[in-house]
């Protein structure tokens, strides 16, 4: 018994270790890509800094600044310096006003995360019951209604939905504030705009995952033994289809985090996506760098956690093949 358990444990640790390595590799590469994008971008940080301070100085002064800022160093030395700073939370200075990037984006990141997590909660609360309902009543009226609605929802451009909501609920009927803010009323439209498409997508996927599980032999076996449908679905089918559903939810984190940019733009939500969009016009690269890094960091971390959860809760994966 003991050696068997040890090998299982060993295998588990090894697989999680491999996942961690992959995670670090992905983060490292994303940081290289992010740095490279701005390294090769047109525009010179030194002259940006000068013009930002309203100075008009000679080329020799700018050259001197480049030297002290380390802009003449080779790519990898600059990258190393930048990465070490970034790990310590120093993401440089905004080109537009000279404030530390970290200070500039902290509050905005918080706003975006509030919007994304509220949307995630709504996504869970709505998509699960709909998906289960649709699967349980497959090929009957509730299923048809849900399928038709989710088909339309998937084809609906979310920014258009946002504009329609805004026009009807704010401009025409004056029910909700036109500018999104952190309150129940102020978040209704932004959250709806983000989640409708995702809810429809996940309803379909959850339905498919459950139907796949329902089609398996053991379900018929349990049914023959006289166990009620409700019990089979609650105690066998749902837990068994969890793996694929949890993985799906991990992927949705990316859509939620980046999808907020559109919603922030429409409803004037003071979040990181809108801030990054505004920064395009000013070519404020440190801000955009920070945006890409933070979103990718959160996204990959969520997916790492999802991978580990899936791994821990699924005995087949734990002992069998790799993740």
């Amino acid at each position: 018994m003991i050696p068997l358990r040890r090998t299982a444990m060993h295998f588990l640790l090894k697989s999680i270790g491999r996942k961690l390595l992959e995670y670090l590799l992905v983060l490292f590469s994303v940081s290289v890509i992010t740095f490279a994008l701005t390294y090769f971008a047109p525009g010179d940080p030194a002259s940006m800094l000068v013009s930002m301070n309203g100075g008009d100085v000679g080329l020799d002064v700018i050259e001197e600044m480049r030297e002290t800022m380390g802009l003449n160093d080779p790519f990898f030395i600059q990258y190393k310096r930048w990465l070490i700073n970034a790990i310590h939370g120093d993401l440089g200075f905004s080109y537009t006003n000279g404030h530390p990037v970290r200070q500039e984006i902290a509050g905005k990141m918080k706003n975006t995360l509030i919007l994304a997590s509220a949307s995630f909660a709504v996504l869970l609360i709505v998509a699960f019951p709909l998906g289960i309902l649709s699967a349980v009543y497959s090929d009957r009226l509730p299923d048809y209604v849900i399928r038709v609605l989710s088909f339309f929802g998937i084809s609906m451009p979310n920014f258009w939905l946002g504009l329609l909501l805004m026009y009807l609920l704010s401009v025409k009927w004056h029910l909700l504030p036109i500018i999104g803010r952190i309150s129940v009323l102020g978040m209704i439209m932004p959250v709806t705009t983000i989640v409708v498409q995702l809810i429809c997508m996940y309803t379909q996927r959850i339905r498919a995952a459950i139907l796949l599980e329902l089609g398996k032999e053991y379900v018929n076996a349990l049914r023959l033994r006289g166990i009620s449908r409700k019990n089979i679905i609650l105690h066998n089918v749902l837990p068994n289809s969890m793996t694929s559903i949890i993985t799906l939810l991990g992927i949705s984190a990316g859509a939620l985090l980046s999808g907020t940019a559109i919603v922030e733009q429409i409803f004037g939500w003071n979040g990181i996506g809108r801030f990054a969009l505004d920064s395009i016009a000013y070519r404020d690269y440190p801000i955009i760098q920070a945006y890409v890094l933070q979103v990718c960091l959160i996204y990959t971390t969520i997916n790492l956690i999802v991978d580990i959860i899936v791994f821990l809760q699924n005995p087949r994966l734990r002992e069998g093949a790799s993740l």
């Binding site: 088909f151 451009p157 985090l257 999808g259 940019a261 996506g273 890409v292």
Partner: protein, 285 residues
């Protein structure tokens, strides 16, 4: 292929959406011939005009005909979408087949790159890339294609890894076929159904993604009509001229619905799940 048409002819959703898509393509291709107004021509005597007989969808903030702009935007949107689809299928299958067929270090490198790119959300990448280059439809195409091929590569690679073990590949190799020929004549046809399904389902998603990016102002080429950009212009006049944001949205919705319906029905035709369905019925009684 023959069996595909045999099944397809009976599938109502497929016939309906195929007809719809064909009509759409014809309209898009010939829009310039029959629109009543030049989509770029301003009419300053009828600015933000409500829909009437002459301008069935109204006019925008400089008096251009919305209906004509939607029709002429269809051509742009669809051309861009198909261009991207072909690009990503090409990149994805070539890299995926290389990784799956040759294995070893090539496989590791290509699949790692795929993992890395998959961890960057498309919108975030597009914003970053366009900040560095500049707003423009070309750069949007670049940003989307650079990330979107990864799913095709992963699927192709997994399929090829499985196919490589099959007897008919060994037989072909013993028969003296070259590697390139095995890949193109023996393996590629096996991948085709899944590729078609994936691509068909992706058209709608791509149209939405591109319209979304234009809506954010990332592809801005102001005079040329594009649906997403029309909506972002329309947003400014939401109180005075709601038709500016009604009709382009309907155009996107209809187009995406037709392509999604087509994609769904192609998937159902190519991968029938009859056995599973029969099994499933027992429990639902």
């Amino acid at each position: 292929m023959k069996s595909f048409w045999k099944k397809a002819r009976k599938n109502k959703a497929f016939l309906f959406s195929l007809t719809g898509v064909l009509i759409l393509l014809i309209i898009a291709a010939s829009a310039d011939l029959f629109v009543r107004h030049d989509p770029l021509q301003e009419n300053f005597s009828y600015i933000m005009g409500a829909p009437n007989k002459e301008y069935i969808c109204g006019t925008d903030h400089i008096g251009r005909c919305i209906f004509c702009r939607i029709l002429s935007g269809a051509k742009n949107s669809l051309l861009i979408t198909f261009l991207i689809i072909f690009l990503i299928i090409f990149i994805g299958t070539v890299l995926g087949m290389t990784a799956g067929f040759f294995g070893g270090i090539l496989d590791v490198i290509i699949m790692r790159i795929t993992d890395i790119l998959m961890s960057i959300p498309i919108q975030v990448f597009a914003i970053a890339l366009i900040a560095v280059l500049q707003p423009g439809i070309g750069n949007v195409i670049l940003a989307v294609s650079l990330l979107w091929w990864t799913r095709y590569a992963r699927m192709t690679r997994n399929q090829v890894t499985a196919l490589r073990q099959k007897a008919f590949i060994d037989e072909a190799r013993l028969g003296g076929e070259s590697k390139i020929r095995i890949l193109s004549r023996y393996i590629f046809p096996e991948l085709l159904p899944e590729l078609v399904v994936m691509a068909a389902l992706d058209v709608g998603r791509l149209i939405l993604a591109i319209a979304g990016l234009s809506f954010l102002g990332l592809s801005s080429q102001p005079p040329i009509p594009e649906w997403g950009y029309m909506l972002s212009e329309g947003k400014k006049y939401i109180q005075k001229a709601p038709w500016l944001l009604l009709y382009p949205g309907i155009a996107i919705l209809i187009t995406v619905i037709l392509f999604n319906l087509l994609g769904d029905s192609v998937r159902n035709i190519l991968s029938p799940r009859g056995i599973r369905k029969k099994n499933r019925l027992k429990i639902s009684q």
